[in-house]
């Protein structure tokens, strides 16, 4: 009966209680949303590359090399020569090597030159391979395979023409050598989705006439040409055995012909996390403060209701309720509000995720999975409920003192 009366009392104050629950719900949704984005971004980054032992590029920073070679963020300061690439490829510890050539673009999407080996060796999300959803991988010199986002955003389908632009924000297009979409990749949730992939020879082909004003070599002539690359932006390397990774890394880093950098993707990712961890902590801190503010708001609501509820408490006391029953009622009330707030917040989060998932994916390339609450999220909800119970002790103890002082003499 006491529980029923406590709920009836809450329902009688539905508006203020509802607003308090909404405030807690919004703060919980915000906190969990930030958590989802934080862990989603981390997972998305960590899942982008898998099974690659080393990434090799011109000497710069390890995070910079990781960002431009894998995430297509920023640019390389220099390339490595094709001779150097061949030298590394012939190293006895190298199992496989895939060149990456960046620098051109199509509309807002990066164009990446590589070899067919890329489709075989590039792995993401713990070893998943790229799958061609429609069409086939590169066969002809002017074939292009496009990521799922490129196809969706630009409305491309197999056999559609593609003209590659020189540079990243250039109005100069290689329109004399148009490409053809040969295949569209399945969605991966990685930067590959936003990449146009062409062959290494094709990169050379579109630049054959680049330096010569007015020259336009026919496509068929280009197909017959020996188009050996001059340089590559970076290379993904697989090593024969884990123990040989560090030896090969040292060999590359100490390479005398040109300054190189070989990085372990996992280690570079850790460095990246360290850089962003301050902002990450600040973000979590701000959202935690929002939750604390909402709980303090709940405490203020209970406080402000105490005076108008003195009669209610006096009736309970007159009927024989001990002061601890009064305390218990107020703490229970806070637990109910915090629990409802936490559950509504969770619901809001899932509604937000359902609506925002495709938008966030297309805008930021960040895939936020809609999954049952994690153990950490359950703990967050329990902590919110517990914190609600703790902050309610302040008004509850005040009510305790008031009920002792008032006895049965409150007159309103």
């Amino acid at each position: 009966m006491i529980l029923r009366l406590a709920f009836a009392s809450l329902i009688a104050r539905a508006l203020t209680v509802g607003m308090t629950i909404l405030a807690i719900a919004l703060s919980v949704a915000l906190f969990l949303g930030v958590e989802k984005i934080r862990t989603g971004a981390k997972a998305s980054f960590a899942d982008t590359i898998s099974g690659t032992d080393l990434i090799v590029g011109a000497r710069s920073g390890s995070v910079q090399l990781l960002l431009y070679s894998v995430f297509r963020i920023g640019n390389a300061t220099n390339n490595l020569t094709w001779e150097t690439y061949q030298d590394i490829a012939s190293h006895p510890d190298v199992d496989w090597i895939v060149p990456i050539s960046l620098g051109d673009s199509h509309r807002q999407f990066r164009v990446m030159g590589t070899t067919p080996t890329f489709f075989e060796r590039y792995k993401y999300r713990s070893g998943k391979s790229l799958v061609v959803n429609d069409g086939a991988i590169i066969d002809d010199l002017f074939d292009a395979v496009i990521g799922a986002d490129v196809a969706a955003t630009l409305g491309y389908s197999v056999s559609d023409p593609i003209v590659v632009a020189h540079g990243l924000a250039s109005f100069t297009e290689h329109d004399d050598q148009p490409f053809r979409v040969s295949g569209i990749l399945e969605k991966t949730g990685t930067p590959v989705d936003r990449t146009v992939i062409i062959g290494m020879r094709a990169i050379e082909a579109i630049h054959v006439d680049w330096q010569v004003q007015g020259q336009s070599t026919p496509a068929d002539a280009l197909r017959q040409m020996e188009l050996e690359p001059q340089a590559v932006t970076a290379a993904l390397v697989g090593v024969k055995g884990r123990l040989k990774v560090f030896g090969l890394q040292r060999f590359i880093n100490e390479y005398t012909q040109e300054p190189l950098l070989a990085i372990l993707p996992g280690v570079a990712l850790q460095e990246l996390w360290q850089i962003v961890s301050i902002a990450e902590t600040a973000l979590v801190g701000v959202s935690a403060m929002v939750v604390i503010t909402a709980l303090i708001g709940m405490m203020a609501t209970i406080f402000s209701s105490l005076n108008e509820r003195r009669r209610e408490m006096a009736i309970f006391r007159a009927m024989g309720a001990r002061p601890r029953v009064i305390v218990g009622l107020l703490v229970l009330e806070a637990i109910v509000m915090a629990t409802l707030g936490a559950l509504v917040g969770l619901e809001l989060l899932y509604i937000g995720l359902t609506i925002g998932q495709p938008l966030i994916d297309s805008a930021f390339g960040l895939w936020l999975p809609i999954e049952p609450p994690t153990l950490r999220e359950v703990w967050v909800l329990l902590v919110v409920i517990l914190a609600g119970a703790i902050v309610s002790m302040v008004p509850a103890l005040r009510a305790y003192r008031m009920s002792l002082a008032d006895g049965m003499t409150v007159r309103i």
């Binding site: 009392s9 024989g320 001990r322 029953v325 006895g407 049965m408 007159r411």
Partner: protein
């Protein structure tokens, strides 16, 4: 051995409210016999509320003895006093007497939640609550109504049913008719007396309205039994 013939007995009781605006109350002797109906008359500030708090055990006398149904209240712990109050005393206040958000039934049954012995006296508390409502002239189907939706007169009858349920030996009514019009007042008192007599309950009603005197077995003036002293601020 407890003197159960005396439902209420105060002997040489003295109490001082702590704080700056201190107020002292002394009661030399006040005794109410079983089944007796007593009207306690007193003006505002005469110490009526302090006296009721002493009888209910929410405050404890500095000296003297307050016994309800033969039990010295001061001898009980705070928790025991709360339970004792629930078991032995039915209370009716002036207005705002009920939990307005709760049903009539929950309001009437509330004291039984804290008084297991009082509950044991009833084989079917819900049926007893319904019977009291009927006997007090409340309409059929009122049990499920929200208390806050009833008229003031109906609310006071529900408060009377709440005080009477489980037949506590003592009912204290603190100016229960002050917010009722004359006709409703008369009906309410008539029903309250009928139920008190039927249950053999002692009734102590506090009022400042001397016109009610003729309806009680005995009338006591606060000025005759109590001395008060209020310190200047």
């Amino acid at each position: 051995m407890p003197d159960t013939a005396k439902t209420l007995q105060l002997e040489n009781v003295a109490y001082s409210w702590p704080g700056r605006a201190s107020f002292d109350l002394q009661v030399a002797d006040l005794t109410l016999a079983s089944s007796e109906t007593v009207l306690l008359l007193g003006e505002s500030g005469s110490g009526k509320s302090t006296l009721l708090s002493l009888i209910c055990g929410t405050i404890i006398a500095g000296s003297g003895r307050v016994s309800v149904a033969g039990t010295d209240i001061a001898a009980l712990s705070a928790g025991q006093r709360d339970r004792f109050r629930a078991e032995q005393i039915g209370l009716i206040f002036q207005q705002f007497n009920l939990l307005p958000f709760a049903s009539v039934q929950d309001n009437i049954l509330l004291p039984l939640r804290f008084a297991p012995e009082r509950r044991k006296r009833l084989s079917d508390p819900n049926a007893e609550a319904a019977r009291l409502c009927h006997d007090l002239g409340l309409p059929d189907g009122v049990m499920s109504s929200k208390a806050g939706n009833l008229s003031v007169g109906q609310q006071q009858r529900v408060a009377a049913a709440r005080a009477l349920i489980g037949m506590p030996p003592l009912i204290i009514a603190d100016e229960p008719t002050s917010s009722l019009d004359a006709a409703t007042q008369a009906t309410f008192l008539e029903l309250l007396f009928a139920q008190s007599y039927a249950h053999g309950t002692t009734l102590l009603m506090v009022s400042h309205d001397a016109r009610l005197s003729s309806q009680f077995d005995r009338v006591i003036n606060m000025t005759d039994i109590a001395q008060t002293k209020r310190d200047a601020l």
